[in-house]
């Protein structure tokens, strides 16, 4: 049965959808697995998001930086593992060009909060939270949620597109850090 947001039962995902879309200032630590036909590996991700600005740091198991991707006032910059700086107008293309990984950064900023786009096909789990989403050729599967300050946020997410599969396990969420 469909609820209007105000009527949606407290704590239900529909009731929090507005809150989720307004949540722009957050930080998380996660494991990011990248699986492609010729490569499998996982890295430790730190993601600081502040409305359109962000900083994604990927570090390997011994603590060495793989890359730092940031967007500040519209300027996108990636610092690679050798400390070289690269800039571009599109983060996904920049990451792909330098690493061969398909990382849809701007869309992931919403998906990782469990926010599908309005035009996406969404199926919900028993608690009314997004379970599967189809968006622009990406197939998302939400495999776990955690509640932070009464807000449901994903803890495990898998997304695939063509031959790339990304696995995310979020170990720490911080809202309005």
């Amino acid at each position: 049965c469909a609820y209007r947001a105000e009527q949606a039962p407290a704590g239900s995902w529909l009731a929090q959808k507005q809150q989720l879309s307004e949540l722009e200032n957050w930080q998380l630590a996660a494991r990011l697995g990248i699986i492609t036909p010729d490569e499998r590996g996982s890295l430790s991700l730190f993601w600081r998001n502040n409305s359109d600005d962000y900083r994604l740091n990927l570090t390997n198991v011994v603590g060495k930086r793989v890359f730092d991707l940031s967007r500040r006032n519209g300027r996108i910059e990636l610092i690679d593992s050798e400390g070289q700086r690269h800039t571009a107008s599109n983060a996904r293309d920049l990451v792909y060009a330098l690493t061969g990984w398909d990382l849809p950064v701007e869309q992931l900023a919403d998906w990782i909060k469990g926010m599908p786009g309005d035009a996406d096909t969404v199926s919900f789990d028993a608690d009314g939270r997004p379970a599967q989403v189809q968006s622009h050729g990406w197939q998302l599967r939400y495999l776990g949620y955690t509640q932070i300050d009464r807000l449901w946020l994903p803890s495990r997410l898998e997304l695939s597109h063509n031959t790339t599969t990304l696995k995310l396990a979020v170990s720490r969420w911080e809202l309005n850090p």
Partner: protein, 182 residues
């Protein structure tokens, strides 16, 4: 000099086990990722580095080859020891081969040893080791040229650990992809 002191201190730690916490800081000192786990080491060149949280991963060296097991993507990579040396500072700690130290400059500042690579291409700009007054390794830090810093703090230090027979060997569980780079 600092180099011989450091090597003496390390060779005095022929075998040990310890728990570790790892904290990664960005270039302005902001904390980012953290991790915890336990390690075992037996010179020369054999060690087990088991990260247990927030996600499991395991690095095992039998003195010849290094296994890097990543359960998150169900894969183990195997590389020859020498190839692993550049990107695993632990091998400087466990290293028996004196020659390996030739390509590093070592200095000491208030009982912290600072190891810098003579090879400008090496990404680790600085690697520091601090010992406590019982000569036990208390902390080591990897600092990259970009300023990112990863600090490993050791605790539960045991200089006579009982090591399992297969402590420094790794057998991939069923279904795990093997990426053998030897």
């Amino acid at each position: 000099d600092a180099a011989t002191d450091l090597q003496q201190k390390l060779s005095a730690l022929g075998r040990f086990s310890a728990d570790f916490t790892q904290q990664v800081y960005d270039e302005s000192g902001e904390p980012m990722q953290t991790a915890e786990g336990s390690m075992q080491l037996a010179r020369p060149d054999r060690f087990r580095w088991h990260t247990t949280s927030p996600d499991e991963s395991l690095i095992v060296s039998d003195g010849t080859d290094v296994w890097m097991y990543d359960p998150f993507v169900e894969q183990v990579s195997i590389v020859p020891l020498e190839q692993a040396v550049q990107n695993t500072p632990f091998l400087l700690i466990s290293g028996g081969d004196k020659a390996r130290w030739q390509n590093y400059r070592i200095s000491e500042q208030n009982d912290t040893y600072v190891v810098t690579s003579k090879d400008p291409a090496e990404l680790i700009q600085r690697f520091t080791l601090r010992f406590n007054n019982q000569g036990r390794l208390a902390r080591f830090t990897v600092v990259e040229s970009g300023g990112q810093r990863s600090e490993f703090t050791l605790s539960e230090f045991n200089t006579s650990p009982e090591l399992a027979a297969n402590a420094f060997r790794f057998t991939p569980p069923a279904g795990v992809m093997v990426d053998d780079q030897r």
